[in-house]
């Protein structure tokens, strides 16, 4: 009896520990994801330059356009540099570009209005997919075992596990 209680306590402790460990891992990951060093102008130039597209029609990110004789990218890069020199914040700079070149200058949908849907849908798909897989796994687990031919008897739990271990050992390739 005492052993059973100790086992239960150990098992509860183990479950709590695992839960806490998972929480800590998720928290650490989130901190890493959303943390960032305070960017200087060069880092901001790189960051903003990668958040905008070149408008010459090459379909490339602004700082990656190397279109020979591209009129747009040089002009846009200079505009970005002068906006940074003026001390504008990131949102203001991006807004200025949108006003001049239209919304397609931003390389990814903004997190406003209908554009939010672009960001949400993949995660909705992932959540629905996980729910579906969990449902399928549960349904399959509760499915009755297929009928066996006469004379075949499946051994009970522990014995079956032992037989499996033995088979695995003997076919360990």
């Amino acid at each position: 009896m005492l052993e059973q209680v100790t086992d239960m306590k150990l098992s509860n402790y183990s479950a709590t520990f695992t839960r806490r460990l998972l929480q800590a891992l998720i928290l650490t990951a989130a901190v890493f994801l959303f943390m960032g060093a305070g960017p200087n102008d060069e880092a901001r130039f790189k960051d903003l330059g990668h958040r905008m597209m070149c408008t010459c029609g090459c379909g490339q990110v602004l700082l990656e356009c190397n279109h020979v004789g591209c009129q747009s990218s040089d002009k846009m890069r200079n505009q970005l540099l002068s906006a940074l020199d003026k001390g504008d914040n990131d949102d203001l700079i991006l807004q200025g570009f949108v006003q001049e070149y239209g919304p397609t200058v931003i390389a990814a949908p903004t997190a406003t209005g209908f554009n939010k849907v672009a960001w949400i849908m993949p995660f909705v798909a992932l959540a629905l997919g996980i729910a579906f897989v969990v449902y399928v796994v549960r349904a399959w687990k509760s499915r009755p075992a297929p009928a066996l031919a006469d004379g075949i008897v499946i051994p009970p739990g522990n014995e079956l596990d032992q037989l499996r271990a033995q088979a695995r050992k003997e076919t360990d390739l």
Partner: protein, 679 residues
């Protein structure tokens, strides 16, 4: 010439229409007349191949003969175009590439129809379905995108030339590989749909199509990677993947095809996921068609969309029809696809395949969603938005990392149920090794808390190491068992192990290649670049390298004029190579093109190999000096090495296994339960 080509195309259409119609009629009957009709349909299918080959041959011959009376040759070739690119004219434009699609499909159909004795009834169904796809392409070729159209007015002296972006050696092999992949998925699709319609008993159709699917997947893999390499070596922006709609279009069928290759094992081994596998192969075929639609329709702007026209409507109608037919038969014959087995444990190979499929499909959905969101936004908001690399990197990369984790864990799980003890035993060494890799990265200065991209890089390194160590431990574990029983050395034993179960160990080699590809990609956050106008003797310092401009000059040949710089590359005060970044001006098309030069530092850094990547950006018109952009791209060469290993693994998996595993049992197991990791 053009008339013969047109006749060949028309003949091919008539033959394939006959192959489809007569084949379909023959499927309804089981008497001798139906059998004879079916045989004529099969032969008509074979003859279609001959007719399409003739059409293709005529188009290539016209390119070599500079026959500019044909509009297609005028628009895609010129007299001075090198011979290899004249051959590549076949897939350089809209009409030619559709003819090439048709040619490859006819080729696949030809092989299939020759091997019909494997299972005459199933092959007859597959043949009819292939003929229907062939009819679609030949209809477009004959009535919407005719490759043998004649030029109006006076005969031009020379053509307008091939797009400069396409004048690169890889363009001679990249499109055929990609198309072999796209077109090839028609075969497993045809077998799957055929098996569904005829309620084919058992899983034999999967065994029949397994090789087709793997070969096709291999071609698509090579095609996708060659496309990335072409972008890297030609577009000159220093990257290889820009999440361009056409790149995305090639990745989507690859993802669903990969999911199919995994989940189909569950059907073979356990009789499960029958509906799912049908849906996956249907989706793969439809996504291949969608890729062609995206490249050809002009509905979405792309740097790769070399040909655009109104044939998009044809594709939309065909895709809609295919969806309707597939859905109808899937619903109608649903009871036939009922699963036979139950799932015993969440910790099993079956579960890992389910989650692997889920993640692959989520990545595929994300790409599809991101590719089409601009159109949706235009409908809803009245204006387009751009969905570019920042979106895909933020959404798809975390899911891809989860997938990598499953790639490592999956092979360690046995079918039906895995004991925690065996998982611990098999997982311990790879887990310790991979954590050590992550720790080493941090010790050597990578700070994952500074930037999300560094965090992803460390995670990718840890998970890639986990995959690699898992594969190595699996080989060692099996090798040791064989070595112990046969007294061979461990390498001989591992080779024997591989030959005994080529499919399983070939798959592991593919996983190893995937891990190397990820290692190549994870170097991206550490890229460096410097741009500078360079006079004689000027230097650029980038990373451990010093680039010295020795000279700059220009040249001329009948096809193009060019300017280039001669840059000596030093490291540690010692010259290691000379590079010649170049800019060309193609005469026929009047278009300029940069040609970067790449030096992978294998001799200096074997494992942390880095590409020195130089681009001749242009010339300062005032000073006459070249503007050179230097990139330092760490680890990129591992991507191409990873590809070679993936292809090698696929080839291994295609080789039939030699001998079944026979191990003497000291205490025979009483029940016939099938356990073990399997493949």
């Amino acid at each position: 010439m053009a008339q013969i080509g047109s006749f060949a195309l028309l003949l091919a259409l008539v033959l394939s229409a006959y192959s489809f119609g007569a084949g379909l009629l023959a499927l309804f009957g089981r008497d001798a007349v139906s059998a004879r009709l079916g045989e004529t349909a099969r032969r008509a299918g074979i003859a279609t191949f001959a007719a399409v080959v003739l059409a293709g041959f005529i188009l290539v011959t016209a390119a070599f003969n500079d026959d500019f009376s044909m509009a297609y040759i005028y628009h895609h070739s010129n007299r001075e175009l090198p011979a290899a690119y004249k051959f590549a004219v076949l897939w350089s434009g809209q009409e030619g590439s559709l003819l090439f699609w048709s040619l490859l499909l006819a080729g696949y159909g030809f092989v299939l129809r020759l091997r019909y004795k494997t299972d005459q009834r199933l092959f007859a169904y597959a043949s009819v379905i292939i003929a229907s796809v062939q009819v679609f392409f030949l209809l477009i070729l004959n009535f919407a995108a005719h490759p043998f159209a004649i030029m109006q007015g006076s005969l031009p002296q020379d053509g307008t030339g091939l797009n400069p972006l396409l004048q690169y050696p890889e363009m001679v092999i990249h499109p055929p590989m990609l198309y072999l992949g796209y077109v090839g998925f028609t075969i497993p699709f045809a077998f799957a749909l055929g098996a569904l319609i005829m309620k084919y008993p058992g899983e034999k159709w999967i065994q029949i199509t397994r090789r087709w699917t793997m070969v096709t997947w291999c071609f698509l893999t090579v095609g996708v990677f060659l496309g990335a390499h072409w972008a890297y070596a030609v577009l000159g922006w220093g990257g290889y993947w820009g999440w361009d709609p056409v790149e995305n279009a090639s990745l989507m069928p690859w993802l669903t095809g990969t999911a199919f290759l995994h989940s189909v094992m569950m059907q073979e081994k356990r009789g499960m996921l029958k509906v799912w596998n049908m849906a996956l192969i249907f989706a793969t075929f439809l996504l291949s068609m969608l890729g062609t639609f995206l490249t050809r329709s002009g509905v979405i702007s792309s740097v790769h969309a070399f040909a655009q026209s109104s044939i998009g409507t044809w594709f939309l109608v065909f895709i809609a029809l295919t969806v309707a037919v597939c859905t109808f038969f899937l619903v109608k014959n649903l009871p036939h696809l009922k699963s036979e087995h139950k799932l015993e444990s969440l910790v099993s190979r079956e579960s890992s395949f389910l989650f692997n499929n889920l993640l692959l499909l989520v990545v595929c959905f994300t790409i599809l969603w991101g590719t089409f969101f601009p159109i949706l936004s235009e409908w809803v908001q009245g204006h387009k938005v751009t969905v570019g690399p920042p979106f895909f990197n933020r959404v798809a990369v975390p899911v891809a990392l989860l997938l990598l984790l499953l790639t490592a864990v999956g092979p360690l799980l046995a079918w039906r149920k895995t004991s925690i003890e065996s998982l611990k035993r098999n997982f311990l060494f790879p887990a310790i090794g991979s954590v050590a890799v992550g720790a080493m990265m941090i010790v050597f200065g990578v700070k994952p808390w500074e930037d999300p991209s560094y965090f992803y890089a460390v995670m990718a390194a840890v998970l890639s190491a986990l995959v690699i160590f898992t594969v190595i431990s699996e080989f060692l574990r099996g090798g040791r068992v064989i070595a112990g029983k046969t007294n061979q050395n461990i390498f001989g034993a591992m080779l024997q192990l591989c030959r005994r179960n080529t499919r399983r160990y070939g798959g592991y080699v593919v996983h190893f290649g995937v891990a190397l590809v990820v290692i190549g990609i994870l170097g991206t956050p550490f890229n460096k670049e410097v741009e500078k106008e360079m006079a004689f003797g000027d230097k650029i310092n980038i990373g451990p390298y010093t680039l010295v401009c020795q000279s700059y000059t220009q040249d001329d040949n009948p096809n193009y004029g060019n300017e280039w710089a001669i840059i000596n590359v030093f490291r540690g005060g010692k010259q290691i190579t000379t590079m010649y970044p170049e800019r060309r001006f193609y005469k026929a098309s009047g278009q300029p093109q940069t040609l970067p030069r790449i030096y992978p530092s294998f001799r200096e850094d074997l494992f942390l190999v880095t590409d020195v990547y130089l681009v001749y950006e242009g010339k300062n018109e005032t000073t006459g000096r070249p503007i050179i952009k230097a990139h330092l791209n760490p680890l990129v060469p591992w991507i191409w090495i990873g590809l070679i290993i993936m292809v090698f693994g696929t080839v291994v998996a295609l080789i039939p296994s030699t001998v079944p595993v026979t191990v003497a049992a000291t205490n025979p197991v009483r029940t016939p339960a099938h356990v073990g990791a399997g493949d």
